[in-house]
């Protein structure tokens, strides 16, 4: 079964299941499906909004994927992107007069720096203290939410409104928005996301660091024996993951709102996990998956108005069902009667998304081994 067939089947399965749920709710599933499609692609504005939602998903998807390749679970993209956006907004608000050559770069660096920091913390904790990054990153999400709320409301509050948002950044910070999307805020962040995907692919497939990162993800002990420092790799991997998530700040603050709004993210971080897995942790697959999930999100916003019983929460349900379909690799391989093992050339960056599947090999065990 070619590599991309399984995700496509997963999407179809997830959509069918989700639309079946709407039928139980009393709506016509075909009607719902049409609303989703029209909402996502019906006009230049709609398509633009789809791209707008997809862009942060590319960043968070890459963030989760690069951690996966190192054998780590980055559930903390939500907190990393929050602080990245906050940092960009803070720089923009505190130095509004910065000349326009430097301004977006400065804010962008701040976003990346904040995200990197928020990824380095769980990376360090995992490497030096051995505490698992899943819980730590989840906890840090909440901490980031609290910190950003505090900073926004107490230090950088926009005195002109009641909304929980920071002061506006200087005009020189805003990056160019494309005009042909009917007003949807599709900015330079989109090509930035595509470039980021390419860079991540190149890093993983072609560079020494990428090789070492993937080796640690495959087998820590083999990597150590080969002279690779698993501790350093883990810290670097989660820091890079944080940096990628921080880039969402560029898309949101510099490319859209011009300020940090508390709660601006519709769970980009968590959905990034689904994006990464649907894209099989491959940067190019992630581009496609992000586009799909962006479309789902945009399409579903119309559901509140245009149906009686179905709310926009359907998009979350659909995404969950697609994710479940993807991780049911056991089901797919059973159907295709094939072994679940990744194969690829030296340059391939595809990784079996599902870890922990034990396959027993008859003659692969050494004959005599002392039990541990």
């Amino acid at each position: 079964m070619p590599r991309f067939l399984q995700p496509i089947l997963a999407v179809i399965a997830g959509l069918c299941l989700g639309l079946a749920v709407t039928w139980i709710a009393g709506e016509n599933p075909w009607h719902v499906f049409k609303i989703l499609c029209m909402g996502a692609l019906g006009s230049p504005y709609d398509f633009g909004m789809t791209l707008f939602y997809a862009t942060p998903l590319v960043f968070t998807g890459l963030s989760v994927a690069i951690a996966f390749h190192a054998g780590l679970f980055n559930i903390g993209a939500e907190g990393q992107l929050t602080l990245g956006a906050l940092a960009a907004a803070a720089v923009g608000a505190l130095w509004p007069q910065c000349p326009s050559i430097f301004a977006p770069l400065a804010a962008g660096f701040a976003a990346v720096f904040a995200g990197t920091l928020w990824g380095a913390i769980p990376g360090w904790l995992r490497a030096r203290r051995g505490s698992h990054e899943v819980i730590n990153t989840i906890m840090l999400n909440f901490v980031a939410a609290g910190l950003s709320s505090y900073i926004t409301l107490y230090l950088l509050k926009n005195s002109e409104t009641q909304n929980p948002e920071t002061r506006a950044i200087g005009a020189t910070y805003m990056i160019h928005q494309f005009a042909f999307f009917g007003g949807a805020p599709v900015s330079l962040a989109l090509p930035l996301a595509i470039v980021a995907a390419f860079c991540v692919w190149f890093f993983l497939a072609k560079t020494t660091w990428g090789f070492e990162l993937r080796a640690v993800g495959q087998s820590e002990s083999a990597a150590r024996a080969a002279g690779i420092s698993a501790d350093n790799v883990r810290i670097i991997a989660l820091s890079l993951a944080g940096a990628l998530a921080g880039l969402v700040g560029v898309a949101e603050v510099l490319g859209n709102a011009g300020r940090f709004k508390v709660g601006f993210s519709p769970e980009y971080g968590f959905i990034g996990i689904a994006v990464a897995l649907l894209g099989r942790n491959h940067p190019f697959g992630i581009l496609a998956a992000a586009l799909l999930f962006g479309a789902l999100h945009k399409g579903a916003t119309a559901l509140d108005l245009e149906t009686e019983h179905v709310t926009r929460d359907l998009s979350l349900i659909l995404q969950a069902l697609i994710l479940l379909s993807v991780c049911a690799e056991g089901l797919w391989s059973w159907m295709a009667k094939r072994d679940v093992s990744a194969s690829g050339g030296t340059g391939g960056a595809s990784v079996s998304a599902s870890r922990g599947i034990s396959t027993a090999r008859e003659d692969a065990r050494p004959t005599a081994k002392k039990p541990k």
């Binding site: 072609k206 560079t207 002990s221 024996a225 004959t367």
Partner: protein, 507 residues
């Protein structure tokens, strides 16, 4: 065997896993009250056949008969109920639980829904006396020595009234003395009517302790004989199918004065202080092979960790390690490799290979920073591919496909791949840990020859092995390790196996 049915009979058993045929029509018979040896190379199918007997696998075709009655099971529970018990290669004991809990698992007597541990204790004391198997019931199993753990496994079977006992490579982790004690127990069990099937690859044991032998090769039974009427050479030929030299021709060494490895007063304590190294000092010259002989678990792993890279960050170590004259005591693994030190790890699956990655990537592992394959941080895939192709041709790695995941190669081919990689840089220092464990006889020959060639080309080689034959055949000097200390040193030609065995067990 006239007049009685065989205790166990397998007729035409077949089993395949996907494309791999593990057993193709296996037929054998075991008389009651005997010890039968089941031998064969790795991958010959003996484990599969026994697992079908024990209910772990279901046969695709064929029959299993116990005392003449056909049987089939859907799980080990059925086999256990029929009186079959198996002691696995890797013990089925959960570390933190006591011996008592490990034994009563699956057959818990209850009173009002709660486990009745006193009843089991009484029953076990009885069994212990009957068969002379003494065990401390209440300590966590992970704290007990290996020989005792094995006894617990056997008691498990007896507690379930097993009549037929299958033992899978039982002596792999025992000293010669413990092996003797085990077979003394097995003989007692046999004399009391139990039937014992002994899966092993050690021809010497088969000759000494079994009544009959069955030989497996390539999924079939190729021979069966009364032990008293055969010899090791004949058995080896049945296993491999061609005349195999059990010894490799080794010329005398011509060592150079430079020290490849120099270890002084090495101490090592893991965080679980059972495993340690005490004041170990030795050196290896370039151009010689120094073998470290010892039963597994006497400090070999700790020695490797202390020299190269500790697995356990909570360990403490002291002393010094020098490679090629450089003090490498606190060096990172990467720096040591850069110096030209090659390692054949003892556990090739966990430490030597990335099982899901293709052969080409595995070849590059550890070499990926060499200027040959790396230009300013970017990998040179073409170079890697051409070099890897040449290497797997030279080392006869089958099948010679760069894109195949390493996990799909057989044990011997995996080991050859690792050796191809490690020897690629013509290392001056080689540390080989259990280099032929789980490797078929044909590949063993190849690997031994390659190691000796490396020595003749000027490498200093430290060989750590639990296989006495290997140590005796290859080493120019032999050091015996026991409980973390070096207890003896011998020169080639100056010792016999009995003395070596005695030293390995501490006497």
């Amino acid at each position: 065997m006239t007049g009685t049915f065989p205790a166990v009979e397998l007729r035409g058993l077949s089993k395949r896993f996907g494309a791999c045929v593990a057993n193709a029509g296996v037929s054998l018979r075991v008389a009651p009250g005997t010890i039968q040896g089941i031998i064969g190379e790795n991958g010959a199918g003996k484990s599969t056949a026994m697992k079908m007997l024990y209910g772990v696998y279901r046969p695709d075709a064929g029959e299993i008969l116990l005392n003449g009655k056909p049987c089939s099971w859907s799980s080990p529970a059925d086999a256990i109920a029929a009186g079959i018990g198996m002691v696995h290669q890797h013990f089925m004991l959960a570390g933190p639980h006591t011996a008592l809990d490990n034994i009563l698992l699956g057959a818990e007597p209850t009173r009002l829904g709660l486990i009745n541990r006193t009843q089991v204790r009484q029953q076990l004391e009885q069994l212990s006396h009957q068969y002379g198997l003494n065990v401390d019931w209440d300590r966590p199993v992970e704290e007990l020595p290996v020989g005792i753990q094995q006894r617990i496994e056997i008691l498990k079977l007896l507690h379930r009234n097993a009549i037929i006992l299958i033992l899978d490579e039982p002596t792999a982790v025992l000293t010669p003395q413990e092996t003797g004690a085990l077979f003394h127990n097995l003989t007692q069990l046999r004399d009391q009517g139990k039937t014992i099937l002994l899966i092993t690859h050690k021809l010497k044991e088969v000759m000494t302790f079994t009544d009959r032998v069955t030989v497996f090769r390539a999924g079939k039974v190729t021979g069966e004989a009364q032990t008293s009427q055969t010899n090791p050479q004949e058995l080896a030929n049945l296993m491999v199918g061609r005349k195999v030299l059990l010894n490799v021709e080794v010329q005398n060494a011509k060592p150079l004065p430079e020290l490849a490895i120099d270890v002084k007063h090495l101490n090592f304590t893991g965080s679980r202080s059972r495993h340690q190294l005490l004041d170990v000092s030795f050196s290896v010259k370039r151009g010689e092979i120094v073998g470290i002989a010892g039963v597994e678990g006497n400090g070999q792993s700790e020695l490797l960790q202390a020299m190269l890279h500790p697995r356990d960050p909570n360990c403490r170590s002291s002393g010094s390690v020098a490679f090629l004259g450089h003090d490498a005591t606190n060096w990172s693994a990467r720096k040591i490799r850069q110096l030209g030190v090659a390692l054949i790890p003892e556990d090739r699956h966990n430490e030597g290979l990335l099982l899901d990655r293709p052969v080409s990537e595995n070849f590059a592992l550890g070499l990926h920073r060499d200027p040959e394959f790396n230009c300013a941080g970017i990998l040179n895939s073409r170079n890697i591919a051409t070099t890897a192709t040449r290497a797997i041709e030279e080392y006869d790695v089958r099948p010679p496909e760069l894109t195949m995941p390493a996990g799909k190669l057989s044990g011997g081919n995996q080991q050859k791949l690792i050796i191809a990689r490690e020897f690629h840089r013509n290392p001056k220092v080689v540390i080989a840990a259990q280099p032929t464990r789980g490797v078929d006889v044909g590949a063993i020959e190849f690997i031994h020859k390659r190691i000796v060639r490396a020595r003749d080309e000027g490498a200093g080689i430290l060989l750590i092995s639990a296989e006495l034959d290997e140590i005796l055949a290859l080493s120019d000097r032999i050091l015996v390790i026991f409980e973390g200390k070096i207890v003896a040193e011998f020169l080639r030609g100056n010792l016999d196996e009995t003395t070596l065995g005695l030293k390995m067990s501490g006497s």
